[in-house]
C-alpha cells in the first residue's frame, strides 16, 4: 500500500540531497573536529559551512548559531541560560498552547518557586497580547512564545511581540521548531534574543537542532565538560547531523516559495473539500493567520484515535488532538485552551503537508475521509441525537 504522509509537523522525510550530503561523514570522514590532525580537525571547515547555511535561513550571523540535539534541548538551553544569567528575576512568561518541551519546563520552574504567567489565547488560537504585555514587570526574566503552533499552525506575531518585550529590557525566546522552513524568518529585523529550531521538521535528520543566540545575549551553558561550540555546549560535534542540517536549511530556503504558494493551495483545497464533504466539521484556528502547510479539522462526535486507525488502513498518516492517542485522557491542551468543545476536540485531526505533498495525494485523502467519518458516526451513540436535535 502507498503511504500518504501528511504528518509533517511530527517529522519529515529526509531530503535525498541531505542524505547524500551526510553520507561521507559516516564513512570516510569520520574524524573528530577537535583533533590536531587535519583528518579530524579539517572538519571545522564543514561545520563552519553548515553554521553559515543555518544562519542564512533565519537572517542570523554564523557565530549566533549553537548546534544542539534538537528543539527540546534548544528550548531547555535557552530558558536555562536566561534564568542563570538573571538570577534575581523570578517571573517567567509563556502561553497556554506551547509544545510540551516548553510547557513542562515552565511547570517545573513553577514548582521550583518561579512565578509563571501562562498567557491565554482566543477561540482561534490567537494570543491575548494585552494580557501578555500587562503581565510584564521588572521581575520578568524571559518571555517564551512559540512562533507557530504545532497542532493548529496558528502563527504568533513574533516580530511585533519580540520588539515590544525587548523594548522593556526583557529577554525574548521563541520556539520556532514548526516555523523554520515554512515561512520566512529574519531575526535581524525583530527583537528575538533566542530561537529554537530542529532539523527533522524541515527534511533534515533527527537528533540535530540549533539555538540562535543574539550576539551580546548573556549565556550560561547547560552541558559542560568541553570546549566545543565556543564552550557553550560541550560534547563532540555531531558532524553528519550538522552537515545534514546545513544542507536542509539551504534546501528549505530554496523551497520556501513552493511551501508558501503551491503547498498553501493544496492545504486550502484539502481543508475546504473536507469541510464541505463532512457535515459538522470545522477548522480549528481557521480564521487566524496560519502556517501554509497545516490544518486541524474537528469532526464532531467521533474519536480521533479511531479515525487515525481507519486512515491507517488506507495508508494515510496524520495526527490527532485526541486524548486516546497520547495515553493521557485529556484532549489536546491546545484545543482546550482555545475553548474547542469536547465534542470536537476528541475528534480533531491534524493534516500537515510538505514540499513533497502532491495534488493526487490530497485528492486521495478527500476521497477517503468522508466514509471513514460516516462509518464511525454510524457507531456513535451521540450522532443520531445530535443530528435529530439539529433538525428540530
Amino acid at each position: 500500500m502507498k503511504t500518504i504522509y501528511v504528518d509533517n509537523n511530527a517529522t519529515t522525510k529526509v531530503a535525498p540531497e541531505v542524505v547524500e550530503a551526510m553520507l561521507p561523514y559516516f564513512t570516510e570522514r569520520y574524524g573528530n573536529a577537535s583533533s590536531m590532525h587535519s583528518f579530524g580537525g579539517g572538519l571545522v571547515v564543514d561545520i563552519r559551512r553548515a553554521r553559515t547555511q543555518v544562519a542564512d535561513l533565519i537572517g542570523a550571523r554564523p557565530e549566533e548559531i549553537l548546534f544542539t540535539s534538537g528543539g527540546t534541548e534548544s528550548d531547555a538551553t535557552a530558558i536555562h541560560a536566561a534564568l542563570q544569567s538573571n538570577p534575581d528575576k523570578r517571573h517567567i512568561v509563556t502561553s497556554r498552547v506551547e509544545h510540551p518541551a516548553i510547557k513542562t519546563l515552565f511547570e517545573r520552574y513553577q514548582k521550583n518557586g518561579y512565578r509563571v504567567t501562562f498567557v491565554p489565547v482566543d477561540g482561534e488560537g490567537r494570543l491575548e497580547q494585552t494580557a501578555l504585555l500587562e503581565s510584564l514587570s521588572d521581575d520578568t526574566a524571559i518571555v517564551s512564545l512559540m512562533w507557530a503552533n504545532n497542532e493548529t499552525g496558528v502563527i504568533n506575531p513574533i516580530d511585533d511581540l519580540s520588539r515590544e518585550v525587548r523594548a522593556r529590557g526583557i529577554l525574548f525566546h521563541t520556539d520556532a521548531v514548526q516555523t523554520v522552513g515554512k515561512i520566512p524568518i529574519d531575526v535581524s529585523q525583530n527583537g528575538v534574543d533566542l530561537l529554537s529550531m530542529s532539523a527533522h521538521k524541515f527534511h533534515g535528520p533527527k537528533g540535530i537542532g540549533a539555538l540562535y543566540i543574539r550576539k551580546g545575549t548573556k549565556f550560561k551553558p547547560m552541558v559542560v565538560g568541553g570546549h566545543q561550540e565556543g564552550g557553550r555546549r560541550a560534547g563532540t560535534e555531531n558532524v553528519p547531523g550538522i552537515v545534514g542540517m546545513g544542507r536542509a536549511c539551504a534546501l528549505a530556503g530554496e523551497n520556501l516559495e513552493d511551501v508558501g504558494t503551491r503547498v498553501r493551495q493544496l492545504r486550502d483545497t484539502l481543508e475546504q473539500a473536507l469541510l464541505q464533504a463532512v457535515p459538522r466539521s470545522m477548522a480549528n484556528g481557521g480564521q487566524a493567520e496560519r502556517l501554509p502547510n497545516t490544518t486541524s479539522i474537528a469532526f464532531e462526535y467521533v474519536e480521533g484515535e479511531a479515525i487515525l486507525l481507519l486512515m491507517n488502513e488506507y495508508g494515510i498518516c496524520a495526527s490527532s488532538g485526541s486524548a486516546c492517542t497520547s495515553g493521557s485522557l485529556e484532549p489536546s491542551h491546545v484545543l482546550r485552551a482555545m475553548g474547542v468543545p469536547f465534542t470536537a476536540a476528541h475528534g480533531s485531526i491534524r493534516y500537515s503537508l510538505s514540499h513533497y505533498t502532491t495534488r493526487e495525494e490530497v485528492d486521495y485523502i478527500v476521497d477517503k475521509m468522508p466514509p471513514i467519518i460516516e462509518r464511525l458516526r454510524s457507531m456513535s451513540p451521540f450522532w443520531k441525537q445530535a443530528t435529530e436535535a439539529a433538525m428540530h
Binding site: 474519536e303 485522557l329 456513535s380 451513540p381
Partner: protein
C-alpha cells in the same frame, strides 16, 4: 502507536453487533462525550431468560469499539446470571490483551453490562460509594481502593489505565498514591484471641487476609488462590496460575497461607487444597 493485538484490530475494523435494539429488554449507557468514550448496550432475552441478541453503539477509540464488540459476542447465548459474571478482565482476555492504558475500555463494557441488567430488573445501579478523589472523571476513593486491590495495581498509571482516575488534571495523584500505599502496605491489625469469632466474622477475616496478605505475594510469582469453603477450622482453597500443579505448592500452602491465617485469624486453622 498502541500495540493492539490482532484480535483487537479485527474487532475494531469489523465490529460485531453494532446498532440499536428498538424493543430491547435491557439498555445500559455509560460514559460521556467529555470523557472521550461512551457506550450504549442493548440486549434482548428469550422466554428462558437467555440473551438472544445484543447490540452496541460506541463513541471512542479502537479499543473501546473492540471491547464493546467483544462484549456483545460474549453475552449472546448466556443467561443473565451467566452474563453478569463477565468481568472487564474477561473482555480483555477475550481480545487477547489490552494495553494497560486502555483497560478502562473493558471496564466501560462491564459497567454498561451491569447497567443494562439492572435496567431489565428494574433496579438502579447504586452510585459508587465514598468520596470523589478524581474530579475530572468522578472516581471515588472506594472505587480506587477496590480496583487497586482486585487488580494488584502498584502505580498511579495502572490506576489511570483501569479507571481513568488521575488521567485529567493530575491534581489527585497524591491521593491515589496514598490509597495504593494503604492497600499495598497497610499491616493487618493483630487480633486479640480474647473474643472468639463468629463464623461469619471468621470467614470475612479469612477472605480479607487472603486478599491483602496472601494474594499479592502469590501474584508476584504468577500464581493465585481462591477461597472455596470454610468448615469449622478447615479452610479449603483452590490454587491458580503457576501455583496450581507447582511442586512447591504444598509448602506454600502450609508455610505461607496457613501460617498467615493462623497468625491473623485463628491459630486453629488448617488449610487444605481442593483440586478440581
Amino acid at each position: 502507536m498502541w500495540e493492539y493485538t490482532d484480535k483487537v484490530k479485527e474487532h475494531f475494523l469489523n465490529p460485531r453487533n453494532v446498532g440499536v435494539i428498538e424493543d430491547a429488554d435491557g439498555v445500559g449507557e455509560v460514559g460521556s462525550l467529555s470523557c472521550g468514550d461512551a457506550l450504549t448496550l442493548y440486549f434482548k432475552l428469550d422466554a428462558d431468560g437467555r440473551i438472544t441478541d445484543a447490540k452496541f453503539q460506541t463513541f471512542g477509540c479502537a479499543s473501546a469499539i473492540a471491547s464493546s464488540s467483544a462484549l456483545t459476542e460474549m453475552m449472546i447465548g448466556k443467561t443473565l446470571e451467566e452474563a453478569e459474571k463477565i468481568t472487564n478482565d474477561d473482555i480483555a482476555s477475550f481480545l487477547g490483551e489490552l494495553p494497560k492504558e486502555k483497560m478502562h475500555c473493558s471496564v466501560m463494557g462491564q459497567e454498561a453490562l451491569e447497567k443494562a441488567i439492572a435496567c431489565y430488573r428494574g433496579e438502579t445501579v447504586p452510585k459508587p460509594e465514598g468520596n470523589i478523589i478524581c474530579e475530572c472523571f468522578g472516581i471515588t476513593d472506594r472505587q480506587i481502593e477496590a480496583t487497586v486491590r482486585d487488580h494488584h495495581l502498584v502505580t498511579i498509571d495502572d490506576v489511570t489505565g483501569h479507571l481513568k482516575a488521575g488521567g485529567g488534571c493530575g491534581k489527585c495523584h497524591e491521593d491515589i498514591q496514598a490509597i495504593i500505599d494503604q492497600v499495598q502496605g497497610k499491616p493487618m491489625p493483630i487480633r486479640s484471641e480474647a473474643a472468639p469469632l463468629t463464623n461469619l466474622q471468621k470467614i470475612r477475616l479469612i477472605e480479607e487476609t487472603l486478599e491483602r496478605e496472601i494474594k499479592p505475594a502469590l501474584h508476584q510469582d504468577g500464581g493465585g488462590i481462591e477461597l472455596v469453603d470454610v468448615d469449622g477450622n478447615r479452610v479449603m482453597v483452590k490454587l491458580r496460575g503457576t501455583c496450581a500443579g507447582c511442586k512447591a505448592s504444598q509448602v506454600t500452602l502450609k508455610k505461607t497461607v496457613e501460617a498467615k491465617l493462623r497468625e491473623l485469624v485463628s491459630k486453629d486453622l488448617v488449610v487444605e487444597e481442593v483440586r478440581s
